[in-house]
């Protein structure tokens, strides 16, 4: 047995040696209080907060450097080198004024992110710190939009609000974009006040809502693509100030229509002026609890889920008469378990979708459902945990001459994770990648999409040319699939035409062009009729077969 003295010496040595592993500091960074921020109006001030935290609970440590290359004009005081006490923190603030959209893009040209500016991230700010035994880094992304405009596509907008125990809104509302393919909610921004009754107006591509906190007089507001709100006018209504407006939609005649839960009032509003056009009480045969409704592009009627009777219901916006479906809704062929639907959206194709919760009290889950308007039954498309939702909105009809969004594209990750999208792409026949070969099978296509540019699946290191082939093939296959699945024309693959010689210069140029193309339309929603409601990149990786060029 080892002598106790030796064991003790080894223990002390190990503890001493572990100092070399210690991460003395951690860098942190936020822009306007967030990790990702969207700018829609100019000029706008961006407030960057950089933090340096000594994470050692016992010892002070010396910070030697703190740099943020994009923030050179800012003075950082106190200036390193400096000693930060144990558990202590140094905070630097830096404000930059974004005068214009172009100024924002210029920052993207000079940042450390090689693919910015692009339609999803305009620039990445990197904050780096250094000390004698290490370094730390933290980043933020900023997206600048030329204008805070929305476009008429199948984007599902969901707003949230937190509620106090008495049901009144407790905090400002947040605007999210819901991605039905992945079930993710992407925060667009936060308003200055709580709102509900969100509606998309196809006449000006702007969201409208009613801000009501149950105490003060309600106000008619607009919400832009960054989630920011602006009051248009106080809402002229006979409903008491304690009323809570829950549902909103824009009719085909351009009027906004809102519904108040307690008094069942249905109000029509001119969205431009906020002027009330008419107000009436909804007449329903029995109990009536509607959290949201949507206008059918086919018959102009308002469709909703009556949470009181658990049936699909239809409201005539002119007469205010509500008619429940003849039978209670079934979800996935079974009787529904106390469903509460909080959001309703109609696509321009006339398909109705509901977002809400259902299930027994112990296992309630949120789900996105397709609705058969004829039968009144629901089909669950996906189930995910989500924040407390207030309302939903979508562009329900397209107006001739209105600005169009960019043609839809998705990156290689999307096709590498959505089996249904990739199968649809391959269904048109083999895909020719010129000198890089041909793809005709699902494992072969997945093999290209998930190929690593540095290392092959047999652990062989790729040469520079092999790496370029992999990166180019991935983008070329993605571009072809974008054309086949979303009808978005792909750039010509002429640089790959000659199998005998692949000139790296033109091939790299093509790769970059393809990459930009495949990312250009990522903000445009995938049409819901494509029925892409599942993604599994891990399963796809397992099925991938290494490509041979």
């Amino acid at each position: 047995m080892m002598d106790r003295k030796w064991l003790w010496l080894l223990f002390i040595g190990a503890v001493w040696a572990s100092n070399a592993w210690a991460n003395d500091f951690r860098a942190g960074q936020l822009v306007n209080g967030r990790k990702q921020y969207t700018v829609g109006t100019y000029p706008e001030t961006l407030r960057f907060t950089f933090t340096v935290t000594n994470i050692d609970p016992a010892l002070p440590a010396e910070l030697l450097s703190a740099t943020a290359p994009l923030m050179k004009p800012c003075t950082r005081a106190p200036t390193p080198p400096l000693v930060v006490p144990a558990d202590g923190q140094v905070t630097y603030q830096c404000e930059i004024e974004l005068e214009s959209y172009d100024a924002c893009l210029t920052l993207g040209i000079h940042d450390a992110n090689p693919v910015t500016p692009n339609p999803e991230v305009s620039f990445t700010s990197t904050f780096s710190i250094g000390w004698d035994a290490g370094a730390s880094q933290a980043g933020t992304n900023v997206l600048c939009l030329p204008r805070p405009d929305l476009f008429c596509d199948d984007t599902v907008y969901l707003s949230t609000t937190s509620r106090a125990l008495d049901g009144r809104p407790a905090a400002p509302s947040r605007l999210y974009i819901f991605d039905p393919a992945t079930g993710t909610l992407t925060l667009q921004g936060e308003a200055a006040l709580p709102y509900n009754a969100l509606a998309f107006n196809p006449f000006d591509n702007i969201l409208y809502a009613i801000a009501s906190d149950g105490i003060g007089a309600p106000r008619f507001i607009r919400v832009d693509a960054t989630g920011a709100s602006r009051v248009i006018a106080p809402l002229d209504t006979a409903a008491p100030p304690s009323a809570l407006w829950t549902a909103g939609a824009v009719l085909k005649d351009g009027a906004y229509v809102g519904f108040e839960h307690g008094t069942r009032r249905l109000i029509r509003v001119n969205p431009t002026t906020g002027e009330t056009l008419s107000e009436q009480v909804v007449t329903a045969p029995g109990d009536f609890q509607v959290a949201d409704f949507a206008v059918s592009p086919r018959d102009g009627q308002l469709y909703a889920f009556n949470n009181a009777t658990q049936r699909l219901t239809r409201i005539d916006p002119l007469t205010g008469v509500a008619t429940d479906h003849a039978s209670p809704a079934r979800i996935d062929g079974r009787p529904a378990e106390a469903p509460v639907m909080s959001a309703a959206v109609f696509t321009r194709d006339g398909e109705l979708y509901l977002y809400g919760t259902s299930g027994p009290d112990t296992r309630r889950a949120s789900g996105f459902h397709a609705v058969d308007v004829m039968t009144g039954h629901l089909t669950t498309l996906l189930t995910r945990p989500v924040p407390q939702l207030a309302d939903g909105a979508m562009c329900g009809f397209y107006l001739w001459g209105a600005p169009r969004p960019r043609p839809t594209t998705r990156d290689r990750g999307f096709f590498g994770a959505s089996e249904s999208a990739l199968l649809e792409c391959l269904a048109y026949g083999p895909i020719s990648l010129g000198a890089l070969g041909e793809v005709s099978t699902l494992p072969g296509a997945l093999g290209i999409l998930w190929a690593n540019p540095a290392i092959a699946s047999n652990n062989a290191r790729r040469t520079a040319l092999e790496s370029l082939k992999v990166r180019t093939a991935r983008e070329a296959l993605t571009a072809v699939c974008n054309e086949r699945v979303f009808n978005t024309r792909a750039p010509a693959l002429s640089a790959l035409a000659n199998p005998a010689s692949l000139d790296p210069g033109p091939v790299e140029e093509l790769r970059q062009r393809l990459e930009r193309h495949n990312h250009a339309g990522k903000r445009t929603a995938i049409p819901l009729r494509k029925r892409i409601f599942a993604m599994d990149p891990l399963r796809a990786m397992e099925r991938a077969e290494e490509p041979r060029f």
Partner: protein, 177 residues
């Protein structure tokens, strides 16, 4: 004031204690480098931290650039960097080895992760947008010589954020030697 460890025998001590079992065993490059009288080999590793609820975070190496005052430094990537599960926080994945001439006292390291990865959280899989996954730092020969390696710790909880169609990677890192 905290002082950095300058110990050269600390690695040997840790080996004796059996604490380096997480490292990779392919030593051919190292052997080759040791046979070279003018080059010193150093490992570059990537390790996940604060994995929280993640059951898997798969990221691949895209490109590594190591320079000294603008001059490129030889880097040989490791097969392990093809697909690294960073949710396994006990493992420091070997990205590769770089070889420094004796006169080189400082290096600038840029690690670009491949632009798309994947994760699994609460039994649900999704994509990681790693386009902003560039990690840059500088280090000195003195620091590297402590253990002949540099480890990038990627703090997953503070690096992955909700984005369109999946998670967006904004690396929050700390570098240890």
């Amino acid at each position: 004031m905290k002082l950095p460890s300058q110990s050269r025998w600390a690695p040997a001590l840790l080996v004796a204690l059996g604490t380096t079992g997480a490292c990779d065993s392919s030593e051919d490059d190292l052997v080759r480098a040791l046979g070279d009288p003018v080059l010193d080999a150093f490992e570059l590793r990537l390790r996940g931290q604060d994995a929280a609820r993640y059951e898997k975070v798969l990221l691949g190496m895209g490109q590594v650039e190591i320079t000294s005052f603008g001059e490129p430094v030889r880097f040989e990537p490791s097969p392990n960097a093809r697909a690294m599960d960073l949710s396994d926080t006990d493992h420091a994945h070997l990205l590769g080895r770089f070889f420094l001439p004796r006169y080189v006292k400082q290096v600038d390291i840029t690690v670009r992760l491949d632009d798309v990865g994947a994760f699994k959280e609460d039994s649900l899989a999704g994509l990681v947008n790693a386009q902003a996954g560039t990690i840059q730092f500088s280090t000195t020969r003195g620091a590297l010589e402590q253990r002949s390696r540099v480890v990038i710790h990627l703090h997953l909880k503070d690096s992955l954020f909700e984005g369109r169609g999946g998670k967006t990677l904004l690396p929050s890192t700390s570098i240890a030697h």
